[in-house]
Structure formats: C-alpha cells, structure tokens
C-alpha cells in the first residue's frame, strides 16, 4: 500500500495530496451520499449526509482531507440509518410537498430519500412559515423548500461574483437572505443565466414559467438513482 492510499469499507482508494475523502472516493468510483457537496464549489460540510467513520471517529467526508492510512467506513447500516434520519429531518424542517412540487423527479432531496429507503418523514413536521419571493421577473425563490446547503451562496459569490445570497439567523431560524436593500430578489442584479439560478438541488430557486415542462418518465431521477447520476457526473 502506497503512502497516498486510504481504505474505504476495506477497499484501497488512492488519493492525490490535498484531496478530501469525498473527492478521492468519487474519483475511485466509491459513492458517498451527499447533498450540499458539489465538486464545482468549495466544500461546505453542512448537510452531514456524507459523514463517514474515519479511524473510529465521525467526520464529514466532503471537508476531511484524505491522509495516508486512513481507515474509513462508509456504506454501513449504521451510517446509512443516520443519513436516512438526516434526510427525514431535512424534510420535516421545511415544507416539502413533493406531489405538486415542480422539482419532483429532478430533486436531489427527493432522490436521496428514495436512495436511502426513506418510507415516511418519521419526525413531526415543523410546518415553518417561510417566504415565497416572486419579485424577480424570471426567478422564483421559494424558501419553503430550502435545505440551507448554501450552494446558491457559493455560486453567486464564487462564480457569478454578485453575492446575491447570504445566510442569516440561528438554529431553526436560520434562513437564506437576499442581498438587497429591500431584501427582495427583484431588487438584485441576479440574472436567470447566473450559475446561482441553476444550482439549487431542491425546488427553492426555480426559473419561472418552466414548471412541469419535462414529462414524467423523462425527469432526471425517473429511471436513475441519485448515486447513478452523481457517479455519471464524476465520470464513473
């Protein structure tokens, strides 16, 4: 075993210096479930779905750098049960109504629920009051469906250079906020062509007037699991 190798569920996985466990795993064709991670952007480590056990301790694989000799457990019953519970918590903390959500079939949260065998929300629904901001002519911001992955924050800041989105509040009151004097999206310089308009893994940021254009059967996750899609995106 070379120095730059870790093991994941007993499988030797090489890594390049500076790579995280997630990056090394995906490059080797090993899937670690994740939602807030997107290889285009700086790791964030907020959703915790990618938590693995590293040398006996839990760590977010998307932010933990790989180090020689690490022994990682990933696809275990206990970790997958935790991932399922985290996904259930994400559902009940927001207002996710898949039956009439236009993101249904293309939604990573929904696809993750299916992938992890989530059969019900399990926990009591929070039914939090969340805002819908339709002030932008081409973009709808529906915070009912936000899972606070902050991909929009990262995309707007790092790719679009506009800093349209930020996070405010604490604990259950944490929410995405819009960087304009009025707090309304329509008063920002965000454009529908921005990366931030296209990065949301759920149905919180949507391009207006395109809902349900893709028929059932042709949506991203109608015939593929989220693992299939993520591995394809990783070239595996």
């Amino acid at each position: 075993m070379s120095d730059n190798t870790i093991t994941i569920d007993g499988q030797a996985v090489p890594f390049a210096p500076g790579q995280t466990i997630m990056e090394a795993a995906m490059a080797a064709g090993v899937y670690i479930p994740h939602l807030c991670h997107n290889p285009e952007f700086t790791p964030h480590g907020s959703c915790k779905l990618c938590t693995v056990t590293v040398n006996g301790r839990n760590a977010a694989s998307c932010t933990m750098p790989a180090a020689p000799g690490m022994v990682v457990q990933n696809d275990t019953e206990e970790l997958n049960a935790n991932r399922r519970a985290l996904t259930q918590m994400l559902f009940v903390e927001g207002n996710h109504v898949c039956p009439f959500c236009e993101k249904s079939g293309n939604c990573q949260l929904q696809a993750m629920g299916y992938f992890l065998g989530m059969m019900d929300p399990h926990y009591d629904q929070f039914y939090p009051p969340r805002d819908v901001d339709a002030s932008h002519p081409d973009i709808l911001l529906d915070l009912n469906r936000c899972i606070l992955c902050e991909l929009c924050v990262r995309a707007s800041r790092d790719v679009d250079g506009k800093n349209v989105f930020g996070v405010t509040g604490r604990g259950p009151h944490t929410r995405i906020t819009v960087n304009s004097a009025s707090g309304r999206l329509g008063d920002t310089d965000m454009a529908v062509t921005d990366r931030a308009a296209d990065v949301c893994p759920v149905g919180a940021i949507l391009k207006k007037r395109h809902g349900f254009e893709v028929p059932i059967g042709q949506r991203t996750y109608d015939h593929k699991t989220i693992k299939d899609v993520h591995m394809e995106e990783a070239g595996k």
């Binding site: 039956p99 819908v132 339709a134 007037r209 809902g211 349900f212 254009e213 059932i216």
Partner: protein, 496 residues
C-alpha cells in the same frame, strides 16, 4: 320548483334521524331527517362538507403550479381539475388557441378520465344496488358479490376502468395525479408505439361500453314505474355545449334549460359565468348553493352531469352513442328526463361516447405531433370550464404581476348538484321513509339516490360493503330512542 321538506316549521318538536357519515372521497357528508311521533317526514337535508381550503392555500403560489396542485382535490377525477386549471392558465399565458396536437391530447386524456370514472361509478359503486336490489342482503351489496354473480359484467367493468387509466397514464405520465397539461399546451405527445398499445384494446372497449348502455337501459326499464318515480323531481339543467349543439365534454359554451327544455341561455362564453350563475349560502350547510341569476334563488337551482348533458345536447357526434341517445330521449316523449336513476343510463351513453372518441383520436396522427405549446400576451385573470364526469366544473383565477395567484374560485360539480341531490333525498324520504320505522335497507334507498349523482358520496367504502353508517332516533329532549348502525366491518346492529 319546490323547497318542500327543506325546513320544518317546529324542528324542536321533532325526532332527528342522522345518517353520518355518508361516506365519500372528499370529506364527510350526512343526512338529517326530522320525523314526528307518527314517523311522518318533516325535514330532510343532505349536508356535504366540501373541502374548500384549496381556494385559500393556493394563493401566493405560482400559476404554473396550479394545474398539478389542484388536482389533489380528488382521487377519482383529478384529470378534470388538472385540465380545467390548465384551461384557465392557458388564458393567463395568452394561449388563445392550442395547437391541434395539444388540444387533441388533452381531449384524449379527458375522455380517458370520463371512461374510467363512469366505469368505476356504474360497475363498482352503483351496480350492486341495481343488480341485487336496493333492499337486498347487505352482505351482497358490493362489487365482490357482483364478481361472483355476474363475472363477465364485473370483468368488463374492471377492464374498462383499467383502459381509461392507461389512456391517462400515457398522456399525463401517471394513472393518478399526472402532469401532462401545462399552461399553453402539453408536455408530451403520444408516440406511435403508445397509440398501438391502446389501439389493441379500444375496439373491445367500444363494444363493452355499448353493452353497458344496454345493461343500464335494461336495469332501468325492467321496472319503469319504480325507477322513473324513485326520487323524482324536475329542475333546470346546465352544461357545456359545442357551437353546433353537439355534446362536448372538454370545451364549449354554457347552455341552461328549464325543466321542460326551454332555453334559459345558450352558447354563453364561460369566462362571463359570474354574470349568469351565483352562489347562495344557507346557514345549515357548509356548501354553497349555485343558482341561475335570471331565475333567482327559488327557481334558479339546476342539475349538472350526465343526465343534464344528454338532455341538453342536440346530438352526439359519434354514431353508436348518438343511436343510444336517440333511444334514451324517446322515453321522454319530447320532454327532458328527470328521474335520478336515469343518470346511470345517461352515464353509460357518455361512456360509449368517450370510448368512440378515444378510438377516433388514436387514429388521428395529430396526437403524435411535436407542436405542443403556444403562448401569447400574458393576462392576469383566467377562467376554465369543462364537463367533469359528474358535471360542469368551473375554475377561476387571478394572478399578480409576479405570477402569484391572488384569487381562486372553484365551483365543483358536487356543488352544482347540491340542491338537486337534496331534492332527490327528500323525495326518497317521502316515498320510502314516511310513516315507516327506519331500517338499514331504507337507509340504503337514500344512498342509492345520492349515488345516482356523485360517486364522491358513495366512495370506495361502499365498493366493499363497509360504509360505516349510524342512524339515531332521538326524542324531543334529545334522548336516543332507537339506533341502527353499520360498522366498518359491515356488521349491522341495533341499540337503544
């Protein structure tokens, strides 16, 4: 027009009989009957707690979400709500005329819905009453007994419904709660392979639908005297009509006729429906009572649905159904037929029309076209109307400049039939209950009248003979004198 038995003069001095719940899909309904000491009927009311929350909670939602969201109103005819909302949103996106492909696909979906819903209603829900008798053994009054006694009829009913569901699946993506119609058109066409799948079976469906018409006619005419009088009342009739007077379940103008068939209004642009129809609120019901404005609240109530439509139309543009329509109207001797039980016969004529229309559309290459969408100048208000399986269905929306819904008004078929169903129940109570001790078979007579109008009220529980019911007779002080119940397992019992 009569309001006899709607409100007793001194209700506090009467016994109260309650049927609750009259099971249904969209919530709870009940029938209350007030009797005097000689069991004479003084008041009968059908209460339907229509769930109207949708009108409120879709406010603030983006308009393109509405056709998918509002179909959750119903699990039996979601396609009707899906399509009528899409029609209203067509107006909002400025789609004045859909492409031929989109319109024909929507019609195909709609007629598939009509086929499956009518089959469900007639075979699964109503046929046990009609085949075995209204007061037959309760253990037999369900679809399972129909399967045992009339296997061929039951099989055809099940397969007709299945076929309709397949039409919906292939046009909307799912058998229940699909997404096919979007503002301005459709999101998919029907491939040639999909057409072949349906064409394989459609000829059976047409033949079986025709058999079903004949069965419904036989069941009605075998005991003409009872069936014409059962729950009989006369009323105005409302429905959509094509410009040439043909039956059209997807689009047309509004036609209203009196109980004798005289025109009240005709070919009215439904976007102006509120100039012709209003809704009255009564203190004893959660549901509104629509009426034709020009005739007022006393005389303006009307019925909708298959019987009103077959009475109202000048002709049907598919040959087999038109033959059956002519046979049907001949029994009216020049006047509209008003017997509630004739609804089933009219319903089967519509099912045959639906099957024939599906056959024609499956042979039309337009349904495999690729020109699916059209849009124009945005509007802030839209009205959609179509004929759902149970009757005329209105959806009316306003949106703001940000594309969010600000107002919704839905007049569903059950609401339009509210007064008519009340009237039928009153007539049945007068005919069968008046002066008699309440029994379960008598209760079923009341449900038979309700089922003639609306399968939402007969519901899936009836299909397996487990509709829970309780009837109580209370004295003037509210003490229970007699109680007849049927529990969730179908067991019937008495208690005091």
């Amino acid at each position: 027009m009569t309001f006899e038995l709607e409100t007793a003069k001194e209700p506090e001095k009467l016994k109260r009989v309650v049927i609750e719940p009259v099971s249904r899909v969209e919530g709870h309904g009940k029938v209350t009957i007030l009797l005097d000491d000689e069991d004479r009927v003084h008041q009968v009311r059908l209460h339907i707690v229509e769930f109207r929350g949708f009108e409120r909670f879709i406010q603030g939602r983006p308009y393109w979400e509405v056709p998918v969201m509002v179909q959750r109103l119903c699990g039996i005819c979601p396609v009707s709500h899906h399509l009528v909302a899409a029609k209203a949103m067509d107006v909002i996106v400025g789609a004045k005329q859909l492409t031929p492909t989109a319109e024909k696909l929507r019609r195909l979906m709609h007629y598939g819905q009509m086929l499956q819903s009518h089959a469900l209603h007639f075979f699964h829900l109503a046929s046990p009453d009609l085949l075995f008798g209204f007061d037959s053994d309760i253990a037999k009054r369900n679809i399972v007994a129909v399967v045992e006694a009339y296997p061929e009829i039951a099989k055809q009913g099940v397969l007709l419904r299945k076929f309709g569901q397949e039409v919906i699946r292939l046009t909307a993506g799912k058998r229940v709660h699909g997404t096919g119609a979007i503002p301005g058109g459709m999101n998919k066409n029907l491939s040639r392979e999909e057409r072949e799948i349906l064409l394989k079976d459609i000829y059976h469906m047409v033949a079986w639908s025709r058999d079903a018409v004949h069965l419904a006619k036989k069941l009605y005419t075998d005991d003409m005297e009872r069936n014409t009088q059962f729950g009989y009342f006369r009323s105005n009739m409302l429905g959509l009509i094509r410009a040439d007077g043909a039956l059209d379940l997807y689009h047309g103008g509004l036609r209203a006729r009196t109980e004798t068939g005289e025109t009240i209004f005709d070919h009215v642009d439904y976007s102006h429906y509120s100039d012709y129809i209003n809704e009255e609120v009564k203190s004893w019901s959660y549901m509104k009572f629509p009426f034709i404005i020009s005739k007022g609240t006393q005389d303006g109530w009307y019925k909708v649905g298959p019987l009103a439509r077959i009475n109202n139309c000048d002709f049907i543009d598919t040959p087999l159904a038109e033959t059956e329509r002519r046979d049907f109207v001949a029994y009216g001797h020049g006047f509209p037929i008003h017997s509630p039980l004739a609804y089933h016969w009219a319903r089967m004529i519509e099912m045959l029309h639906a099957a024939e229309t599906i056959k024609d559309l499956l042979h039309d290459d337009d349904v495999s076209g690729n020109d699916l969408m059209v849009k124009g100048e945005k509007a802030l208000e839209g009205v959609g109307v179509l004929e759902a399986p149970r009757g005329t269905l209105f959806h009316h929306y306003r949106i703001d400049e940000n594309d969010q819904v600000t107002m919704a008004n839905l007049i569903v078929s059950t609401t339009s039939n509210n007064h008519a169903m009340n009237e039928a129940v009153r007539q049945v109570a007068k005919q069968y209950l008046d002066g008699h001790t309440v029994t379960e078979p008598l209760l079923n007579h009341i449900e038979v009248a309700i089922r003639a109008f609306d399968p939402c009220l007969s519901c899936a529980t009836h299909a397996v003979g487990k509709m829970p019911l309780m009837v109580e007779i209370l004295d003037a002080e509210g003490r229970a004198l007699d109680r007849v119940y049927k529990d969730g397992a179908g067991e019937v019992g008495c208690a005091v």
